[in-house]
């Protein structure tokens, strides 16, 4: 049916000819003795939906506030569209920000909030009217135009804040924990709405969040940050499936990390992790040498739980169920291996009543393939 050629996947970061919109070059930010950001090098491309992800205090908000112009780098340069933006004050930047608190002006109506920036830019009445109405339609706020911010719901306020920050048609939109104040269900709907609006307007979005699910859902690329450094910058899939460190693996999603030593290196490498246990056999992208101490990270959903070893999987270990978390669609098992390690496994409850197959203290076999886990050296 579909005769259109499949569009090329959006991946300017793999294209050496692509020109980044934002370039951080050796950016360091200190507040007194405290180093908030340490030697940041980062490129963000036009039309990207880029997420800065990390625990609170990791420097992600500082990074964003530097783009908005509320902070200046102590060292290094930030280039926006080929220009060094350090000397440009916030009101002169082609950048707009959506604040965590939304920062809607309480004394102005929804309409006037959205028109605020356009009026400051000195546009004529007709242009302002047309633009505000376009924004109201985009964010489905038409019938609330005359209301004051305190007269609308949290979700509507969030959309007003978005409309207001998009009204000026910025090259770059910054979103500081935009969905933090919404409840879970609304948050999920709004995530898709955000992606939709981003696609429609073609604006580059940079979002700050501590919610990894949110970052994974909306972003084209995610930067995982910790203590003022970038740990890994990659697509959500790469971040999840090939984390480059224990920190990233642990921060994104659930993971079991087993410490061990490389026993032999062949097509598969063997990692011994406990006396008298069969070593873990795994493929490994990194170069390791025998005797090296490594970490083996494996996601719970990659592990198969059964009453006997799975015939097709290279790794099988026996353990005892310590905890079961029944979530309806899936069940989480916490299994203590005979060697003492705790491993998390996740099974889909595809059949009704099948979930009750295993119970506490049952002996089970955990099986996984040679591609299931990642070998980490740091």
């Amino acid at each position: 049916m579909d005769t259109k050629p499949a569009p090329a996947p959006f991946a300017p970061w793999n294209d050496p000819a692509a020109v980044p919109l934002i370039r951080f070059e050796g950016v360091t930010k200190r507040f007194g003795d405290f180093t908030a950001l340490q030697d940041i090098n980062l490129q963000i491309y036009p039309r990207e939906f880029f997420a800065l992800l990390g625990p609170s205090g990791c420097g992600k908000t500082t990074l964003m506030r530097m783009l908005a112009g509320f902070e200046t780098p102590t060292e290094g340069t930030i280039w926006l569209d080929g220009k060094n933006i350090a000397p440009v004050p916030p009101n002169k930047r082609p950048v707009n920000m959506m604040f965590q608190s939304y920062a809607l002006f309480p004394h102005l109506s929804v309409w006037d909030n959205i028109a605020f920036g356009l009026r400051r830019a000195g546009q004529d009445k007709e242009t302002i009217k047309a633009r505000v109405e376009e924004m109201l339609r985009l964010t489905r706020l038409d019938q609330f135009a005359r209301r004051k911010p305190h007269q609308i719901s949290g979700g509507q306020r969030q959309r007003v804040a978005l409309a207001r920050s998009l009204a000026l048609g910025p090259k770059l939109l910054l979103l500081d924990e935009p969905l933090g104040a919404l409840d879970k269900k609304l948050r999920q709907d709004t995530q898709f709405e955000l992606m939709d609006i981003q696609e429609k307007t073609g604006t580059t979005f940079v979002i700050v969040t501590h919610d990894q699910e949110e970052a994974m859902t909306v972003a084209s690329r995610v930067a995982v940050m910790d203590a003022g450094r970038l740990c890994q910058v990659d697509t959500p899939q790469h971040i999840y499936e090939t984390p480059n460190s224990r920190y990233v693996a642990d921060f994104i999603g659930e993971v079991s990390i087993i410490e061990g030593r490389v026993e032999s290196v062949a097509e598969e490498i063997a990692i011994s992790y406990a006396e008298g246990q069969k070593p873990i056999m795994t493929r490994c992208a990194e170069t390791v040498s025998p005797g090296q101490s490594v970490f083996y990270a494996i996601r719970p959903e990659k592990i198969w739980v059964g009453s006997e070893p799975h015939p097709d999987r290279i790794n099988s270990v026996q353990g005892t169920i310590v905890d079961i978390g029944y979530l309806g669609d899936v069940s989480n098992y916490h299994v203590r291996l005979d060697s003492g390690q705790m491993v998390k496994a996740l099974m889909t409850n595809a059949e009704r009543y099948a979930a009750s197959r295993f119970t506490w203290n049952d002996r089970v076999w955990l099986s996984w393939s040679r591609h299931a886990g990642v070998v980490l050296t740091s």
Partner: protein, 271 residues
């Protein structure tokens, strides 16, 4: 809504109110006294009100007081708001502690000292005492009250509102004018009202800084009191009390209606 009050509560309330308002009530009643003797009742009359409005000295003093109060409270509001803004916004600058201490010092300084020091200053710089010096003096001590009121509002002011204004293209001055000022306006207005009333009833500082041509109403009342309490003063005080009472009631009604309206709006907004 009617709730039965216990005997104890009833007594406390009555005694408290009587303690506060009985003297004023007495004063108001005696302002309608026919007799020249303040403490002897001789029948109802409004003649002292007539006398009062024929007394040019009182009228002049009232006019001076009003002008002083309006001008000084306005200047005090501008300066006090600026001081509050700097103190709340700029967490770190050289001499901040000294500056904030100096702003709040007049709050606890005995008025006599403030008045005396201002008097010495005016003499030293050769400024003739008159309405200008009273305005300057009142501005000085009212400013700190304004800055206390305004800074308590600014402390709870969401800083990101200003940042949002900057982000949307405002210069820092525009951000203050378009966003900060409209939002803190109620605090600024109550600061002005406070400064206005302080200036209206100040006796001590005004008597240090006023000249022969510029007597304010409190000074006038105080000096005529020394010649004995005249029923005219009672009449004048009754007028002042009435004005204040009407003002307080109107302000209370307005704010009550505003609160009620906001509550209905919020309820509707949630639908």
């Amino acid at each position: 809504m009617k709730r039965n009050m216990s005997f104890f509560n009833m007594t406390t309330l009555t005694l408290g109110l009587a303690f506060l308002y009985l003297p004023m009530l007495l004063l108001m009643i005696y302002s309608f006294n026919e007799s020249r003797l303040v403490t002897v009742w001789a029948g109802f009359s409004t003649k002292w009100y007539g006398e009062l409005f024929r007394n040019q000295q009182f009228l002049d003093a009232a006019w001076v007081t009003l002008r002083v109060a309006v001008v000084s409270s306005t200047i005090a509001t501008v300066l006090g708001t600026m001081a509050a803004w700097v103190l709340v916004r700029e967490r770190r600058f050289l001499g901040r502690t000294l500056f904030s201490g100096m702003i709040y010092a007049p709050l606890v300084m005995p008025e006599v000292i403030t008045g005396l020091s201002l008097l010495l200053l005016f003499i030293a710089i050769g400024l003739d005492r008159g309405i200008l010096t009273i305005i300057l003096a009142h501005t000085t001590f009212a400013m700190c009250y304004v800055s206390v009121v305004v800074s308590s509002r600014l402390v709870t002011f969401d800083r990101s509102l200003e940042e949002a204004a900057l982000d949307l293209g405002c210069s820092p001055m525009q951000a203050f004018g378009f966003v900060t000022l409209p939002i803190i306006a109620p605090a600024v207005v109550s600061g002005w009202l406070l400064a206005f009333t302080l200036s209206l009833d100040d006796l001590v500082i005004a008597s240090f800084t006023s000249g022969p041509s510029s007597t304010t109403l409190p000074i006038k009342i105080f000096s005529s009191m020394r010649l004995g309490v005249s029923p005219e003063i009672n009449a004048l005080s009754t007028i002042l009390i009435s004005i204040v009472a009407v003002g307080v009631v109107v302000a209370a009604l307005v704010s009550k209606r505003q609160i009620a309206r906001r509550e209905t709006e919020e309820r509707e907004g949630q639908k």
